[in-house]
Symmetry: C2
Subunit: 583 residues, 2 copies
Amino acid sequence: MATSEPTASGADQDPNTANLRPSSTTYDQAWMHGCTRKLGMKICGFLQKNNSLDDKGRLAGQKNLLSCDNSDRDARFRRTESDFSNLYARDLLPAKNGEEPTIQFLMEVVEILTNYVRKTFDRSTKVLDFHHPHQLLEGMEGFNLELSDQPESLEQILVDCRDTLKYGVRTGHPRFFNQLSTGLDIIGLAGEWLTSTANTNMFTYEIAPVFVLMEQLTLKKMREIVGWPNGEGDGLFSPGGAISNMYSVMIARYKFFPEVKAKGMSAAPRLVLFTSEHSHYSIKKAGAALGFGSENVILLSTDERGRVIPADLEAKIIDAKQKGCVPLFVNATGGSTVYGAFDPINEIADICQKYNLWLHVDGAWGGGLLMSRKHRHKLNGIERANSVTWNPHKMMGVPLQCSAILVREKGILAGCNSMCAGYLFQPDKQYDVTYDTGDMAIQCGRHVDIFKFWLMWKAKGTIGFEQHIDKCLDLSQYLYNKIKDREGYQMVFDGVPQHTNVCFWYLPLSLRGMPEGEERREKLHRVAPKIKALMMESGTTMVGYQPQGQKVNFFRMVISNPAATQSDIDFLIDEIERLGHDL
Amino acid sequence: MATSEPTASGADQDPNTANLRPSSTTYDQAWMHGCTRKLGMKICGFLQKNNSLDDKGRLAGQKNLLSCDNSDRDARFRRTESDFSNLYARDLLPAKNGEEPTIQFLMEVVEILTNYVRKTFDRSTKVLDFHHPHQLLEGMEGFNLELSDQPESLEQILVDCRDTLKYGVRTGHPRFFNQLSTGLDIIGLAGEWLTSTANTNMFTYEIAPVFVLMEQLTLKKMREIVGWPNGEGDGLFSPGGAISNMYSVMIARYKFFPEVKAKGMSAAPRLVLFTSEHSHYSIKKAGAALGFGSENVILLSTDERGRVIPADLEAKIIDAKQKGCVPLFVNATGGSTVYGAFDPINEIADICQKYNLWLHVDGAWGGGLLMSRKHRHKLNGIERANSVTWNPHKMMGVPLQCSAILVREKGILAGCNSMCAGYLFQPDKQYDVTYDTGDMAIQCGRHVDIFKFWLMWKAKGTIGFEQHIDKCLDLSQYLYNKIKDREGYQMVFDGVPQHTNVCFWYLPLSLRGMPEGEERREKLHRVAPKIKALMMESGTTMVGYQPQGQKVNFFRMVISNPAATQSDIDFLIDEIERLGHDL
């Protein structure tokens, strides 16, 4: 439950209101408790205390600003400070005398958010309170999603905020394992709050001086970690790994066929791209969008662990050339989405070198391992890549969105994308306009994605990211060791996972004796969706599943959540067995 | 100044600490003042009050949690609550006992942010405190942008947050007119804070049920306002207008040449796109990126107000066909970036109909006018478009990023972009998977851009947006009326602006008598950059300038900031004259 529900009686009062004249020690403890738990009530308690000490009548004058009277609570409506019922958005800043209600409104919102933060980390709360689309659309207990012509009061807006969180999914909950991006980093959260308060745009130094410099320094640091000399090169933060991967294809094309920028694809021969059959679908999307055609994105075979077979790459390059195509680009995946596989970058780089192809490493998911001295060897050879996608919003726990495209050759992003818009990129500004990096992007306006990441790096140090990554990989090995020989489990591939992905089938009792064959396959295919549905309905945990190639639906467990512990892994196993044992 | 600077002496104390035993009325007023002004100090004042009433010794035990002792302030360091000097990111949630420091840290951040919000709307503060890149890179008074291996204390992190805001630009300041996106909407800000706390992803209903539904309902509402029957169609929120425009080109190509998705551009004839010479550069960028080639983006001539001349479109279509090209797509701009011009959509739509071309309306900047009964006629004919870009983060004051691509034909976005990734878009989920809209996008992960906008719409109502837009247009007319015949001003084009863009040259005294000619042009070209530089160095206001075609640098004033008033317009004029009169 994401909201602070009212209590029906006054028995369960806030410690502040219940202790108007406490003994000193109790009072302080109660207050500190209140301070961190319910800011609004603390303010109430504070007012009431002064009230009781001095003059009850005085408070009446404040009623319209802040009311603590809970006696008229109506169980049908969640409690909000009553002063907001007559206030509207138009009463907030920049309105005259808008400062008081503005700050009070924001503090109410912050109370809702800090309550949500606390509950996110509380294992006694659910991960989600599942409802079907039609249920939410019909309106849950007055939560009306429809927009109207007339404004709603700020009281209703606060209710809407609570309800939005109540019916959402706690992606930071220690038992949320559903995506590659999990967790709720407090520093990152603070960074996002500041970013949205600054509300500016990355396209020019002029209006984002600090953020532009932070981006440049951070990208340089990332390039150093990739292993490019002195961290030289290009890069920017894009709205996600798919766009970062799209950039890599664009700049590869620009490098070898710069005339395509002006003349279009007809100026180039038939170009082909190579990527693993296990790679992220964004390479194929980029191929389709950029005019190569998805059929010209050639899928490479993998070994049983999902890693590209270099010989297959070479064979397919030769085959493509024989068919009159021109091989352009190879994507090596550093941490595949489902198996967590790392393609052998060095062997792929040798082939790219031999045939003069652009090498991109999609490290959206696995790039974070570069921060770990223990695990970065899995990306050996990445320093030979021409470009790298690396999403700090995945393995490094940075809030969404935060994805970097890193490029070894300086100037190529600008060469590929610049259109020199006069209204933004005036050459006659008073500062060094090489810091106006917006024309390198396919976007015009660009969200400030850097600050939260920069702030987290400051707050944790490189060493803090390393510890987080090592811990997540340890946890996934704990899970692997626990289930690899456990009754009812079957691993999708053998051996210790390279990344935190642990892929497995759970076999209900009814399937355990069944011989291999189509009937068993069909039944097994239905197990993971069924368990997942029950899991979501009970709201206790979330983990993903999918088929892959000829393999029927299996669970893909991934760990990037800093809140997860061994007990949460144990819980997940227990929960799968509880829900699935008798299917 | 964005930070709460320490005062050297104790004379300028916070009202709370200065009034430990006030008279009751004074105290309450002082407290209410403190409540909204300095939350941290309020907490301190509260603790000290209890301390003075009961037992000073007790407070010592709280020292590590919250200290109010300012006596050891060092002028070289900004004040933070001293308890954070020994706390690190690792002490916050999910750490054991991390809840107290987490909430206290977030409250400190909120204090910094609410101070910033207050100052943003305070005309006695500067819009910016300008520094050159090299100055910021060298480190301003200990503001070190470099990242390191070791973590910094939370105290330093709070200082970093203050410094980041201090050296940034107040885009919500009533005198910030530099971009199309200005202002700081409090409801939108609250929405962004909530969005980042929820930290989820738009790709599936599974992990963003409420946000996915909000997006669908809001897009439907926007399509209704565009004028498509029953608001039917497609759409999504993209990371900005450039990407939205890119979507429009992609789906136009898919509509007429669906085989390009699989086969690439070689499967299509030479396709050409048409857009005004005044249109946003993103159409050209899209043409280059998607494989059309920027030369196949044909620029249309405009009248003196920057509006496309329909006859020129038809002539260029015929010309392109004669050259063996296939006209595909026409972009009509609804509110151009520099002039604020609205292309005549109905006349363009007639031509598109005649030649069977895709009609896109780039209403990134002007789409907001659809919310105004008084001004929406400027977009007449938009209901005949096949697709529309509309950025609520511009004219409607929604925080960045918030851009919608709206499409009349349902299903075409999915047809164009879907790749059916099994790990995300499982068909065997327990809920109606038509709500998993992620595969329509070229992105995989997609930031939640909808909530702030939905919440603002709830809080203002359609009517609130209308009032905002009408007010901004009134203000721009006020500016126009004030300068059109004023000495020293020359309008770039005649007549009342269609949008809030007011384009003008300011002529310093030395230029006023000078005859037309190259010398005057060269001198005039240098005036706006010089005034702008002085403006930024004095930090008083910000307005954009640029050349356009053969026209030398001129100011482009735009008004989307809800905080701006006539007095701010007056201030801008005074400031231009103060800084430019004697150039």
